[in-house]
């Protein structure tokens, strides 16, 4: 408890010194592979539920194409985000297809998620106030939506990592919290399986 208090005090002292996030510096640390795949472990703590919900699976971020998010545990669920569309499959069954024509915010959502996974802070800065630190090949940032209405819904987002994004933490105002940890990251054309490539 005491340590936590100290940490809070420290961060309070440090944060004002940060000023504008060293976006350029972080961008320099991050690799920008054309294809990036890996394992994710997601923990959700929802308001009103005792136990956290854990899920894991694989994800791929393909430049100029989009994001593939395949939950494998506890059940198979695949989401594909492309520029103009969100498609979701439960197992093999198509569960949802939403395009930018039906829902204009699709493009915005997809851009943001892609940027978040790829660590494209330049893009994120358009929509968020970015505060953070960088040094020694590691970095961490906090994002706060510039639009107050959006901020209310999304809450606070924190990212950290090195060459790639390692952790994402989303704290929603409603009390739901999500933590995602990335590991076993591979890059290059061989990182994506043929099965995954077929889904794009």
């Amino acid at each position: 408890m005491k340590r936590k208090a100290i940490a809070v005090c420290l961060s309070l002292m440090v944060w004002p010194l940060l000023g504008a996030a060293p976006v350029a510096e972080i961008q320099a640390i991050l690799a920008k592979p054309k294809v990036l795949c890996g394992r994710f472990d997601q923990t959700k703590q929802l308001a009103g539920l005792k136990n956290p919900l854990r899920s894991s699976g694989r994800f791929c971020v393909v430049a100029d194409k989009g994001v593939l998010w395949r939950s494998l545990q506890p059940f198979a669920n695949t989401v594909r985000l492309t520029r103009d569309e969100i498609v979701q499959w439960h197992g093999e069954r198509l569960a949802m297809r939403l395009n930018a024509k039906q829902e204009p915010t699709v493009r915005l959502i997809n851009t943001l998620l892609f940027s978040m996974l790829a660590g494209d802070l330049g893009q994120l800065e358009k929509y968020f106030d970015v505060e953070g630190v960088a040094g020694d090949g590691a970095w961490s940032v906090k994002l706060k939506a510039r639009d107050a209405g959006v901020a209310k819904v999304i809450g606070a987002i924190a990212l950290d990592g090195g060459v790639y994004v390692k952790n994402i933490a989303i704290d929603e105002a409603k009390g739901d919290r999500t933590r995602i940890v990335f590991s076993a990251i591979q890059t290059g054309e061989q990182a994506i399986t043929s099965e995954e490539a077929a889904l794009f």
Binding site: V79, L81, E103, D147, G149
Partner: protein, 789 residues
């Protein structure tokens, strides 16, 4: 004779009275012409609910200007929008921007549904609720739980475990592609991001003064915004822009066509009379006619319709004939002949010309259309006033010594005798056959065109912008929708739901883009109750999906009962009244007409209406009680068709009536007075057929006028004595040329209705002036009663 003294004074008193009355009308601004096209519908067809519906849909659209400011980069678009807004700011009395969206909007928006959200379901979820097994819902809840990108959800998971409300909010948001973004309204299309600026007019859209003030302001704001960033696209749309373009065009034409015809008429009068006094006199008779018509018509009718004024203005063509005839006769008569005695000589012909024209207008009174009746009364009164002005004032105002130059008149007289005459010979037979062939050929090709859209004449860039705007914003049609009625709000909502079920199919088949209905927001009490019961029974009980979900999540029985209580607490019935208290209802309130008479009425508006799905939509309403398809475009077109139909009969019957009136005076020669007008009308119709112009109301209005004028000419020429001095022909020529100059030139107008009117007048008057002399009687048998000795 004393009556010669007091008659002009008596008429002066009458004219003073109507002038005074018309002045009051003018200055007290009661003279706001009725522009509502529905006012022209027969009274029994005017249904109050329908009128309210159209007023709410159309008038709301009428006072709106929507501006889209787009750029490839959102910040560029925002900057340009800020510049645009700043430029408009000083003109709040003309145009007001809608209030910006605050940070609270979204939560306020949701707050209204907080206690009702459980029964707010999309049609798909409703169908799933009624058709799917509980295991389906378990899967859905789990998928939602683990999904990483559920997007921003309006509620915490436990308040919406099955995602119904989330889907419903999404569906409601999708009723428009416009979204709030950083304090602006935002829409995207293609590669561009647009800021949407909804503006509300503070001046009436059809008031010319307001338009003139507004247009430069909008243009200046547009240019300023254009320069604020690179490659900014600005799309402006609104009824006022079209109205202003039409008014500007009318003004341009008034100054070109108007000046052209005025110079022409002045020149004509000068050549004929070597004096401008005649034109002042003719103008005087017309002015008195117009004042009288305005005054009497406004006493009889509550409001005068714009179309009455427009058609009434065309009176000039007939009203001038009386004055011109008098003046030409004066010019031709012996100087010793006193003007009052001259009048006595020509009075029979003058009476006949008036009566034959009036008969046509009186037959218009018999039609069931208030618009035509109003036009008829206006025209008849105007003609009577102009006529009396000629008869009561001209003899005193025009002395024999005033008009002396007879050189032109004499030349005319000589010319008249050389003009071909219709008789029983080969040449005439050939001409008759050629004419019959032409009329038959043209007549067989004649089509009708009543589509109101063919009368539209907005400039192309404006139409393109409007089209683009409609497409980007996916706006509902303001003139095509379903009108629903029910005994009370609940019955009405149930009927909306019946329509919704049919429309959902059309949306699925991509026939229409979507629809707006209050029932989208407030389900009927019946549906709300059945959903609540079904949800509780299938999902929230001990063996339901909620319990199965709890088992999966490792939660106990207390969690299930707690969740059930929470969910059911959010299922209190939502009413229309409650919905209307929420800011979320603001864009949709116009759909609910509420109580009209002893019923409730509402509108279901449609997105993506086009020519190809109109029939389908009309059929959609069939068989549903209390649901009516309203298509204002085809209704106005149908109204124009009805007017055209009745007008056609009136023209035909008028011909017969004119013949009957002419008969007592001209006996066997009566046809000679009528034939020129009849033939000219046939020729005009034939030529319209040949050039492929569909016949419409405005052609027939012109034909009606043509009949009045043509018969006048016929009468003038029949009155011509054996001592042919050519004055009758002079009167005909002067009148015809000035009519051609005033109305024929309208054929050059860019406004389709005026062009149709002008073209018919040009063909008809030209023809009648050329044909009429052919039917003069041979000098040998010419001895009409009362002719000048």
């Amino acid at each position: 004779m004393s009556w010669r003294r007091w008659v002009p004074w008596f008429w002066a008193v009458v004219v003073a009275a109507v002038s005074f009355h018309a002045g009051i009308l003018w200055w007290h601004d009661r003279l706001v012409p009725d522009t509502d096209i529905l006012a022209l519908l027969p009274a029994q067809q005017r249904d109050p609910a329908r009128q309210r519906a159209l007023a709410q849909m159309v008038e709301a659209a009428q006072q709106r200007v929507i501006v889209l400011i787009g750029a490839a980069d959102w910040d560029d678009a925002r900057n340009a929008a800020a510049v645009y807004r700043k430029n408009l700011a000083p003109y709040g009395h003309l145009l007001r921007a809608a209030d910006g969206i605050s940070d609270h909007t979204e939560s306020d928006w949701l707050a209204a549904f907080k206690n009702h959200r459980l029964t707010l379901l999309t049609s798909e979820d409703d169908a799933a609720l009624r058709g799917q097994a509980p295991s389906y819902w378990l899967d859905r809840a789990l998928a939602k739980l683990y999904s990483p990108f559920a997007g921003p959800q309006p509620l915490a998971w436990r308040d919406d475990p099955f995602g119904w409300f989330n889907n419903w909010v999404l569906a409601r948001a999708q009723e428009t592609p416009v979204r709030p973004r950083a304090g602006e309204l935002f829409v995207s299309a293609g590669e561009r991001h647009y800021v949407v600026l909804p503006l509300t007019l503070q001046v009436p859209a059809f008031a010319v003064a307001g338009q003139q003030a507004l247009m430069p302001v909008l243009e200046q704001a547009r240019q300023a915004a254009q320069q604020a960033a690179q490659r900014v696209e600005i799309i402006q749309g609104g009824v006022v822009l079209h109205a202003a373009a039409a008014a500007a065009q009318a003004q341009r034409e008034m100054s070109t066509i108007g000046i052209g015809s005025l110079t022409g008429i002045l020149l004509l009068i000068w050549i004929t009379f070597r004096s401008f006094k005649p034109i002042a006199l003719v103008a005087l008779s017309i002015a008195v006619g117009c004042l009288g018509a305005l005054s009497i018509a406004s006493l009889v009718f509550e409001r005068i319709h714009l179309i009455t004024l427009v058609f009434g203005a065309s009176l000039i063509g007939v009203a001038q004939d009386y004055g011109i005839y008098f003046l030409c006769k004066r010019l031709g008569a012996n100087e010793q002949l006193d003007s009052w005695r001259l009048l006595r000589h020509i009075l029979p012909a003058l009476i006949l010309t008036l009566v034959t024209t009036l008969i046509g207008y009186f037959s218009l009174v018999l039609t069931p259309f208030p618009g035509l009746r109003q036009m008829a009364l206006f025209s008849a009164v105007g003609l009577i006033f102009a006529w009396f002005t000629v008869v009561f004032w001209f003899p005193t105002l025009v002395h024999a010594s005033k008009l002396k130059n007879r050189a032109v008149a004499e030349r005319y007289g000589r010319g008249a005798t050389r003009w071909p005459r219709f008789a029983k010979n080969r040449r005439s037979l050939g001409a008759a056959l050629a004419f019959a062939g032409l009329a038959g050929f043209g007549g067989s090709r004649l089509t009708v065109q009543d589509d109101i859209r063919s009368l539209q004449n907005s400039p192309k860039p404006l139409l393109d912008d409007q089209l683009k705007l409609g497409k980007i914003l996916d706006l509902a049609s303001p003139v095509q929708f379903f009108l629903l009625r029910g005994a009370d709000a609940e019955a009405l909502l149930q009927r909306e739901e019946a329509v919704k079920r049919r429309l959902d199919l059309l949306v699925q088949q991509k026939q229409i883009g979507g629809y707006h209905a209050i029932a989208n927001w407030v389900p009927s009490a019946r549906i709300q109750q059945s959903r609540r019961q079904l949800i509780d029974k299938l999902l929230l009980q001990k063996d339901g999906a909620l319990a199965a979900l709890a088992a999966k999540l490792g939660e106990g029985q207390s969690w299930v009962s707690g969740a059930r209580t929470r969910l059911l607490a959010a299922a209190t019935p939502l009413t229309v009244e409650e919905f209307f208290q929420s800011p979320a209802s603001e864009p949709w309130r116009h759909l609910w007409l509420g109580r009209v008479g002893d019923q409730y009425a509402s509108i279901v508006a449609l997105r993506g209406v086009n020519r190809s799905n109109l029939t389908l939509l009309r059929q959609t309403a069939s068989g549903l009680e209390g649901v009516e398809w309203v298509d204002q475009v085809s209704e106005i077109s149908a109204l124009l068709a009805d007017y055209r139909y009745y007008m056609g009969w009136v023209v035909l019957l008028s011909c017969v009536a004119v013949f009957v009136l002419l008969y007592p005076r001209y006996r066997q020669s009566s046809w000679r007075a009528l034939a020129p007008a009849a033939l000219a009308m046939l020729l005009a119709l034939a030529l319209l057929g040949i050039v492929g112009q569909g016949l419409q109301l405005f052609h027939l209005l012109a034909l009606m006028l043509l009949l009045g004028i043509g018969v006048d000419y016929g009468i003038f020429l029949q009155e011509q004595g054996s001592h042919d001095d050519g004055t009758a022909w002079l009167a005909v020529t002067v009148s015809a040329v000035s009519t051609l100059l005033s109305f024929g030139l309208l054929g050059f107008s860019q406004t389709p209705a005026l062009r149709a009117f002008g073209l018919t007048m040009a063909i008809g008057i030209g023809a009648v002036a050329l044909i009429a002399p052919c039917f003069r009687r041979a000098t040998a048998d010419a001895q009409p009663p009362g002719s000048l000795g």
